[in-house]
């Protein structure tokens, strides 16, 4: 197994000292290449570059490459990216969260009802939305860790329940499922600020991606996330508090969704129950395109960022081409399929089989 397929050499280039200078440089560069190929984010980077090149050629003249076009796809990528970062961390820990889509709509409605309908201070609306996110994340996490049921089903249920509950509450309180809300004071800066068409979401996404990458790669908690997803029994027997890791990540993903809910409400100046419905699967799609394994234990947030960019480029590229927006889904679906197939091979390659 070892030595035949080159993985061990790729990871420990000093293994075979008995090579002449020329051979050594060749092995060195080959090893460096393999090292790059083995990075989990490589698939996401390649897909982002390919779709960008495609739409730059096809839609470059119709505005895709303009400042506005760039700002548009970066904004789409940022909002998806903020959702996808905690969803990706949770996937690396071996769990899914499908309730994020419903959470975006629920948070949006809470913000809009509080500030738009009742005229309360934005801090109260956003605070309530975040509080609800924490509760929902805790509920998701507790149910999944206590019952050991698949998180796919648990969060699918809480997704329906959240949407149903918020719809019922908003109809009862306001008689509508869509409320306008104009940001005031600090809220208009934090959630809706624009600089030369570039939405502040890009800044939030960049900061979050940086911090989350650091947590995942360089802290003990990050190590525990990988271990929990790699094999929950191994991690638990080693002493990792696997349930706590999962619950924290469920809360984190709900907060990410609530943040995007507030962001979109104040950007569109309108809250709606159906806001964010597309994130149910596009968050997971961004992670998988970015190299996160569906089975957990492997992946990176840099890859997830590339996955979100791919999604943003495709959806805005299709828009600038003047095509039907439904074609976005066709592209993303195809990319997703390719990513899953590539990931499987990559894992086998990484394991040296």
């Amino acid at each position: 197994m070892i030595g035949k397929d080159g993985i061990s050499e790729a990871l420990s280039p000093n293994m075979n000292p008995a090579v002449d200078a020329r051979g050594a440089t060749e092995t060195g560069s080959a090893a460096a290449l393999r090292r790059i190929i083995l990075r989990p984010e490589i698939g996401g980077a390649i897909s982002a570059v390919i779709v960008f090149a495609f739409f730059a050629m096809a839609a470059g003249s119709s505005g895709f490459l303009s400042l506005l076009g760039t700002a548009y796809w970066l904004d789409t990528a940022s909002e998806l990216g903020i959702i996808a970062i905690p969803v990706g961390m949770l996937m690396i820990a071996g769990e899914f969260d499908l309730s994020v889509g419903a959470m975006v709509g629920a948070a949006s409605m809470i913000v809009a009802i509080c500030t738009g309908y009742f005229g309360l201070h934005p801090l109260i609306g956003v605070g309530l939305a975040f509080a609800m996110a924490v509760v929902l994340g805790l509920v998701n996490g507790m149910i999944v860790t206590k019952t050991k049921l698949p998180s796919f089903i648990v969060t699918l249920s809480t997704m329906f329940m959240t949407t149903g509950a918020i719809l019922g509450v908003s109809i009862a309180l306001t008689g509508s499922s869509s409320i306008s809300a104009v940001p005031t004071g600090l809220a208009s800066f934090v959630f809706a600020y624009k600089w030369n068409e570039f939405h502040i979401s890009l800044l939030h996404w960049s900061i979050l991606a940086g911090v989350a990458t650091w947590v995942l790669q360089s802290t003990r908690f990050g190590n525990w996330i990988y271990a929990t997803g790699g094999n929950v029994d191994t991690a638990r027997l080693a002493g990792v508090p696997t349930n706590r890791v999962k619950i924290i990540l469920f809360v984190f993903s709900a907060i990410g969704a609530a943040f995007v809910g507030a962001l979109q409400t104040y950007t569109f100046q309108n809250g709606s129950v159906t806001l964010g419905a597309q994130y149910v699967f596009s968050g997971i799609a961004a992670c998988v395109i970015g190299g996160v394994l569906l089975t957990g234990g492997y992946g990176s947030l840099v890859g997830t960022a590339f996955g979100a960019m791919t999604y943003g480029i495709v959806s805005m590229g299709v828009f600038f081409l003047g095509w039907n927006a439904d074609l976005t889904e066709l592209f993303i679906g195809g990319l997703l399929l390719m990513a899953v197939m590539a990931n499987n091979r990559l894992r086998r390659f990484a394991m040296g089989r």
Binding site: T219, G222, A227
Partner: protein, 267 residues
């Protein structure tokens, strides 16, 4: 913690265990001395796993006493047993293939640098610890702590799991069928590993089906059948053939074989 070679690290004294009225182990006594490889032999259902569960704090005996370093001890949890230096090394779930050697080795007790919000993993230190731990067990091929565990051989992965247990202060390792899924060469490397561990004064409780493997490393042997001690002997007192016969049930096996032979010759 004692280092007295005459006091057993762990002793079971007249232990019985029943589950819902079914007797899994009855009136078993055993002592494991420092630096000794204690082989627990028997067929499936003989009660081996019940014994190791009581040794490692997973189950409590219905009657009888567990003594650690000569003192009666009541394990509250596997963690408690581990704190007293008794560690189980799992073959299947011992290591994480998609994580690096360094991260596997230090999991749940990762060395860190920096403080407060900037407290972060010290991967260089983790890597050095892992490589040193493996080297102590005679594994010199792993020189890069960032290597993925999935690329290592089965024997090396066992070594990593054992090195990890020793690093966290284990004085007695429970190895449950460590050679079961391994090829001949890999099995040999695991047996060599057991030798190395013993030479460092660590005790090993080895559970195996394979009489040859037990015979090649064991110091003390205990054969269980249906929860009872069938035989107990020391190294050199019995041949491999005799051990196989005992494990399979002696007389019963012989009559079974004779029957099979008679059937064959009559064909």
């Amino acid at each position: 913690m004692n280092n007295d070679p005459h006091i057993p690290i762990i002793e079971l004294r007249d232990i019985s265990k029943s589950f819902l009225g079914v007797q899994a182990v009855s009136h078993l006594s055993m002592r494991v001395m420092p630096g000794e490889v204690f082989c627990l032999l028997g067929e499936n259902g003989a009660g081996k796993s019940t014994v190791i569960k009581m040794l490692t704090g997973v189950e409590h005996p219905t009657t009888g006493e567990v003594l650690v370093d000569g003192e009666v001890t009541h394990f509250t949890s596997p963690r408690h047993a581990r704190e007293r230096g008794i560690a189980t090394v799992y073959q299947e779930v011992g290591t994480l293939p998609l994580m690096s050697v360094a991260r596997n080795f230090t999991l749940a007790a990762e060395p860190t640098k920096g403080r407060g919000l900037f407290r972060r993993l010290d991967l260089d230190k983790a890597s050095a610890l892992a490589i040193a731990g493996l080297r102590e067990l005679g594994i010199n091929r792993i020189t890069d702590g960032s290597k993925l565990v999935g690329t290592m051989s089965g024997g090396e992965r066992q070594a990593l799991a054992i090195a990890r247990a020793l690093h966290f202060g284990a004085r007695l390792l429970v190895l449950d069928e460590p050679t079961a899924a391994l090829g001949v060469r890999e099995s040999a490397s695991v047996l060599k590993l057991i030798h190395t561990v013993r030479s460092r004064g660590i005790a090993v409780v080895l559970i195996t089906h394979n009489a040859y493997h037990a015979h090649s490393v064991g110091d003390a042997f205990l054969v269980l059948r249906r929860g009872e001690v069938l035989a107990r002997f020391r190294k050199g007192e019995k041949s491999v053939g005799e051990v196989i016969e005992l494990m399979a049930g002696g007389e019963e096996l012989r009559s079974l074989l004779t029957e099979a032979e008679t059937n064959l010759t009559s064909i």
